[in-house]
């Protein structure tokens, strides 16, 4: 499986934020996108997920599931968690596991299992709204585990996480790469993936 980004251009508000960006990523690899604020890190991830229109160029996931679009094989995690405060953590994750994983995949983890990985097993029955910021983030990370999708698009995944949770998540990311997954993460902080390559986006141009 290979993620090919070919001369990708994206403009926002009339300004060309990404100008003919090209890179490729093979299964099992991680890419860390760095750059100052406004360099286009979030724009790149949203464009990869198909949430922003592309001004030019193409994005393809070669060797993935046939007939599936790239967006349907990708997890997108941004600043918002995608969880309902009124529902419990378990109900939220159960919903996303059913909604995002259409076909059963043995690489998908059960909700209990995923909550154990991020260390939230004890608050599974608590409403999502009462969790702390770091716990909410960990619940959002658990969403990546309950439905296996090969490509992870992570926008500042480590926000509000303590050191122990970062290490747990680094292990989860390594496991994902070992299963043949791909990770594109935009971050200012070290992810804990030594083997990850880096893509530095330039300053505001």
């Amino acid at each position: 499986m290979r993620l090919c980004v070919d001369k990708l251009s994206v403009s926002r508000g009339g300004r060309l934020v990404l100008d003919r960006l090209s890179f490729s990523l093979f299964a099992g690899q991680a890419l860390v996108v760095t750059g100052p604020n406004g360099a286009g890190k979030s724009t790149l991830l949203r464009a990869l997920a198909g949430l922003l229109p592309r001004a030019g160029g193409g994005v393809a996931l070669e060797g993935g599931a046939p007939e599936a679009e790239l967006a349907q094989q990708a997890h997108y995690l941004a600043h918002s968690d995608g969880m309902k405060s009124a529902l419990t953590v378990e109900e939220n994750l159960d919903f996303w596991s059913r909604y995002l994983a259409q076909a059963p995949d043995r690489r998908s983890r059960s909700v209990d299992d995923a909550l154990g990985v991020v260390g939230l097993g004890h608050v599974a029955a608590a409403p999502f709204g009462v969790l702390s910021a770091g716990q909410k983030r960990r619940a959002a990370l658990a969403r990546l585990l309950v439905a296996f999708r090969p490509l992870w698009l992570l926008d500042e995944p480590l926000t509000a996480l303590d050191r122990a949770s970062r290490e747990k998540f680094a292990v989860a990311m390594r496991d994902h790469c070992a299963l043949g997954g791909l990770i594109v993460a935009a971050t200012h902080e070290p992810l804990g993936l030594e083997e990850a390559s880096t893509l530095a986006l330039g300053g505001a141009s």
């Binding site: 997108y76 941004a78 918002s80 968690d81 995608g82 969880m83 309902k84 159960d94």
Partner: protein, 223 residues
């Protein structure tokens, strides 16, 4: 209950029924609106019996709109809407399921409450049945048409008022045929089934068209 659509329905239903959801709010608003009408128009039984179906319909329309403005906005704020774009389930189908769950949680209680409130407005048995039947058929159309407005105002902060301005003119046909069928049920020169059949047709047309319009608005505004 393992399919993605069933999971989405269950989630929307739970959110609407939990504390802070729109389920109970709509019924209470409906009750309040109907209860204040006799204070405004006076307690004359004949007058109340004549305007009753219209009052019930207007109150149901406003109660439906009141609950609808957060239909997509809540999902846009917590990031769920982005994830809906990434799912294999088409956005149109997700919109339809969200509308169905929303109607079951907020529209259906209005239909159930209507006959009890109708008694306060001096409605006879046939008129009560007429109001319940027309609301049962007509409120799904209100929810579906309102979903277009909710989708079009998804990025507008406090977009509820703007949504009402956009949606109210579109609901006029539903209101006209709903009220005329409800009034025809208790007598009059018009047969009941003629406006009722048109009301059914409007709901079916809304069912076919509105999910596409709302999903198109969400796609366009999501960019």
């Amino acid at each position: 209950m393992t399919s993605p659509l069933a999971a989405l329905f269950l989630r929307e239903w739970r959110v609407a029924r939990r504390i802070g959801g729109s389920g109970a709010m709509g019924v209470v608003f409906f009750l309040t609106l109907v209860a204040i009408v006799p204070f405004a128009v006076g307690p004359d039984p004949n007058l109340l019996a004549r305007v009753g179906p219209a009052i019930l319909w207007i109150a149901a329309l406003l109660a439906t709109l009141l609950c609808l403005d957060r239909l997509f906005q809540a999902d846009a704020e917590d990031g769920s809407l982005d994830l809906f774009h990434l799912a294999e389930t088409p956005l149109e189908l997700a919109v339809l399921i969200k509308c169905a769950a929303h109607w079951a949680a907020t529209g259906l209680p209005l239909v159930v409450a209507a006959p009890f409130l109708g008694l306060m407005l001096q409605q006879e048995t046939m008129a009560l049945l007429g109001v319940v039947a027309t609301l049962l058929v007509g409120t799904p159309a209100l929810t579906l048409i309102g979903a277009i407005g909710a989708a079009a105002t998804v990025t507008v902060r406090r977009g509820g008022l703007l949504m009402a301005l956009l949606v109210l003119p579109l609901t006029i046909p539903v209101l006209i045929f709903g009220v005329s069928a409800a009034q025809a049920a208790s007598g009059g020169t018009v047969p009941f089934y003629a406006p009722f059949a048109i009301l059914c047709a409007i709901t079916l047309a809304a069912l076919a068209l509105c999910p596409f319009a709302a999903a198109a608005a969400l796609r366009y505004l999501g960019e």
